[in-house]
C-alpha cells in the first residue's frame, strides 16, 4: 500500500522531470522549430548556427544546471531540517546561502571587483569563487552548530539564521561601497538568481561536485532516520551523533555553496521541497525521502527556469519566482501543522 504510493510518486516526479526538461528545451526567448531542435539534439546539426549554439550551449546547460541546483538545495534543506530537528530550516533561511554569497563577494572584490571571472573567466577564478562560497557557507554552519548547542529553541535558531543573513548582506553592501561599479552590477544581478551561469566547460565541475554530494547524502539514510528520534535515541542506536552531524552539515555546505556560487543565493526551494516530498509520500523515512526530494527539487527548479525564460520581455530572475511557489506552500504547512503527521 505505502510502497505503491512511493512508486507512483517517484514515477510521477520522473515524468514531470522529463516533461519540464523538454519544455525548457522547446520554449525560450528565441523560437526554434521542433524539427530543428530534434536535429540539433540528435547531433545532426542545423543550418542555423545560432540555433545550434542556443540549444547546445545555453538551453541544455541551463536544464542541467537548474535540475542539479534544485536537487542540491532541496537535499540541503532536508538535511538541515533533520539535523536541527526543525521543519522550517533551509539553506536560505538559516543564512547558509548568504554566507556563501558573502564568500563570493569577498573573492570577487579580492580579484579586482568584477564578477566577469565567474561567468566568463578562466578555471582559476571560478574555482576561487567556489572556494569563497564554501568558506562562507562553512563559517555560517559552524556558527549555527555553536548556537544550536546554546539555544535549544527551534524558533530562536531560525531567528539567528535570519540575523546572520542580515549581517552578511550588510557586510556585502559595505564591500560594494568600495567595489567598482561593474563589480556591484555583477554582484546585484548574481543575487537575482540565475540558472544560465554554468558554461559547458564548467559543467563537469559543477555537476560532478553536486552528484558526489547527493550520493553522499543518500548514503546517510540510516543515521538520518535515527536522528528523527532525537540525539539521545540516535546515540543509543549506535550513531556517532557529532560525527554524523558534521558529515551532514559538510554535505549541506558543499551543495549550498556550489549552487550559490554558480546560480546566486536561491531562496525557498531548499525549505519547501522536503515538505512537498514528505507530504506526497506520507513519510519521514529518509530512504524514500531522499530520492523523492532530489526529483521534486529538480522539478521545481526546472519549473522556475521555464517560467523565467518564457517572458517575452526578457528573463525573469529566479528569485522573483521561488517565493511565489514557496510562500503559499509554507503558509499551508504552518496553518495545517496539526493535521500533518510529521509535525506530531
Amino acid at each position: 500500500m505505502t510502497y505503491r504510493r512511493y512508486a507512483v510518486t517517484l514515477i510521477a516526479l520522473t515524468l514531470s522531470l522529463v516533461l519540464l526538461a523538454l519544455a525548457c528545451l522547446i520554449f525560450g526567448s528565441v523560437d526554434i522549430p521542433m524539427s530543428q531542435i530534434t536535429d540539433i539534439v540528435m547531433g545532426k546539426g542545423s543550418d542555423n548556427k545560432a540555433w545550434e549554439i542556443i540549444i547546445l550551449q545555453s538551453r541544455i546547460p541551463m536544464i542541467a544546471t537548474a535540475a542539479l541546483a534544485g536537487a542540491a538545495l532541496s537535499i540541503s534543506g532536508l538535511l538541515l531540517q533533520t539535523t536541527f530537528n526543525n521543519p522550517l530550516a533551509g539553506p536560505s533561511i538559516l543564512g547558509v546561502s548568504s554566507g556563501a554569497g558573502l564568500g563570493v563577494a569577498i573573492v570577487i572584490l579580492a580579484m579586482g571587483g568584477s564578477l566577469g571571472g565567474l561567468f566568463g573567466g578562466n578555471v582559476g577564478s571560478y574555482m576561487a569563487v567556489l572556494l569563497g562560497a564554501l568558506m562562507g557557507a562553512g563559517v555560517v554552519l559552524v556558527v549555527l552548530i555553536a548556537f544550536s548547542a546554546i539555544v535549544r529553541s527551534n524558533t530562536m535558531l531560525l531567528i539567528i539564521g535570519i540575523l546572520v543573513s542580515y549581517l552578511t548582506s550588510s557586510v556585502v553592501q559595505l564591500l560594494n561601497s568600495v567595489a567598482t561599479e561593474e563589480g556591484v552590477h555583477n554582484y546585484v544581478s548574481w543575487g537575482f538568481g540565475n540558472f544560465s551561469g554554468v558554461s559547458v566547460a564548467q559543467m563537469p565541475v559543477y555537476a560532478g561536485i553536486i552528484i558526489l554530494a547527493l550520493i553522499g547524502a543518500a548514503l546517510m539514510v540510516k543515521p538520518l532516520n535515527a536522528l528523527l528520534l532525537g540525539t539521545r535515541y540516535a546515540r543509543n542506536l549506535g550513531v556517532n551523533v557529532a560525527r554524523t552531524r558534521n558529515i551532514l552539515l559538510l554535505i549541506t555546505g558543499v551543495l549550498t555553496a556550489v549552487v550559490t556560487a554558480f546560480c546566486g543565493p536561491i531562496g525557498f526551494i531548499g525549505l519547501v521541497v522536503p515538505h512537498i516530498a514528505r507530504m506526497s509520500l506520507g513519510t519521514s523515512n529518509h530512504s524514500r525521502l531522499v530520492p523523492a526530494t532530489i526529483l521534486a527539487g529538480a522539478d521545481i527548479a526546472l519549473l522556475c527556469a521555464l517560467v523565467s525564460v518564457c517572458n517575452p520581455h526578457g528573463i525573469i530572475p529566479i528569485n522573483a519566482i521561488t517565493p511565489i511557489i514557496g510562500v503559499p506552500i509554507i503558509l499551508y504547512i504552518i496553518l495545517n501543522r496539526r493535521r500533518i503527521q510529521y509535525f506530531n
Binding site: M1, T2, T82, N85, L219, V221, K222, N225, A226, L228, L229, G230, R232, Y233, R235, N236, L237, G238, V239, N240, R278, G282, T283, S284, N285, S287, I340, Q341, Y342, F343, N344
Partner: protein, 260 residues
C-alpha cells in the same frame, strides 16, 4: 544461587557541570542490575534520577567510577557494541510522527543492520515479535502521530525490544500517561523482565505503582544515599520515609502510598 547480574557500577559518582563548577549529586554507588528483574528508581525531583540514568546509558560522562557490563567497562566500548547491550526509552520529543509504528520499531534494528539500514526477513520477524510482545501489533501500519500517548509509549518500548538488548533503561516511561496506560505500561515492563529475562531499570514518580510491580527499588534518599533492595524489604524497613524531606508526609505500609 545463580548470579544473574548483568550490569554493575563501581564507585560511580554522577552529577553535572555548572559552568566550571562540578556538582556531585550521588557518589560511591555500587549498584547492580539483574536479568529478569524490574527495578524502579525513585527519588524526589532533582535528586539525580535522570542524571544517574544518563550516566548508565553513557549519555553523560560520570564524575567518577565506572559502569561494567559482564566485566567490561561500558564507557570504553565502541558505540555499536553498546547499542546491542543497552536499549533506551526516554521522554525526548521525537520527530517521527510520519513513520508507521512498524517503521519506528524497525529503527530498533539499526545496531544489527548494514550500512544502509535495510531490514531482511529475520529483522522483519523480530520487529513483528517486538510489536506483538508490546501489544501494539494491531497498530503496525498506523502513523505514530495517530497514536495515543500510551500507544506511543508501547511503540517506543517495542522499538527498544527490537533492539534485542539484555538491558532496557526507561527514563520516566509513564510520565505523560493516564492511569490506565501507566498500569498497562508497567505490567508490560514487568512481563518483559519476568518472561523475556530482560534487566529493566526505570525511573518513576509513580510510587505506588512502582511498589506494586517492581521487584527491586533503588531509592535516592534526601541525604543523597541510594538504598537498594527488594521492594518488600525496603517497605518493611521504613526506607520509604527517607524519600521526602517533608516530615508531615509519611509512608503508609498498608496502602503502599503516602499519607499526610
Amino acid at each position: 544461587m545463580e548470579d544473574n547480574t548483568i550490569l554493575r557500577t563501581r564507585d560511580l559518582a554522577v552529577g553535572y557541570r555548572n559552568g566550571k563548577q562540578q556538582v556531585t549529586l550521588l557518589k560511591g554507588l555500587n549498584l547492580s542490575l539483574e536479568c529478569g528483574k524490574l527495578v524502579a528508581l525513585l527519588g524526589q525531583n532533582g535528586a539525580g534520577k535522570s542524571t544517574l540514568l544518563r550516566a548508565i546509558t553513557c549519555d553523560e560522562k560520570p564524575i567518577g567510577g565506572s559502569i561494567e557490563v559482564k566485566g567490561k567497562n561500558l564507557m570504553d566500548m565502541p558505540q555499536k557494541e553498546r547499542s546491542r547491550i543497552l536499549g533506551l526509552v526516554s521522554t525526548e520529543r521525537i520527530q517521527a510522527g510520519a513513520l508507521t509504528v512498524e517503521e519506528l520499531v524497525g529503527l530498533g534494528r539499526q545496531p544489527h543492520t548494514g550500512f544502509l539500514g535495510r531490514l531482511d526477513d529475520e529483522d522483519h520477524e523480530i520487529v513483528r515479535q517486538a510489536m506483538a510482545d508490546s501489544g501494539i501489533i494491531n497498530k503496525a501500519g498506523e502513523y505514530i502521530a495517530s497514536l495515543s500517548d500510551g500507544e506511543r509509549q508501547k511503540a517506543m518500548i517495542a522499538r527498544a525490544l527490537a533492539q534485542q538488548t539484555p538491558i532496557i533503561i526507561l527514563d520516566e516511561p509513564t510520565a505523560f500517561l493516564d492511569v490506565a496506560s501507566r498500569i498497562e505500561t508497567m505490567r508490560l515492563l514487568q512481563t518483559l523482565a519476568h518472561e523475556r529475562g530482560k534487566a529493566v531499570l526505570l525511573s518513576s514518580h509513580d510510587i505506588s505503582q512502582s511498589l506494586m510491580l517492581a521487584d527491586e527499588l533503588w531509592l535516592i534518599t534526601t541525604d543523597r544515599q541510594v538504598i537498594t533492595g527488594t521492594t518488600a524489604k525496603l517497605v518493611s524497613d521504613g526506607a520509604m520515609d527517607r524519600l521526602f524531606t517533608n516530615k508531615t508526609i509519611r509512608f503508609n505500609n498498608q496502602i503502599l502510598d503516602y499519607s499526610f
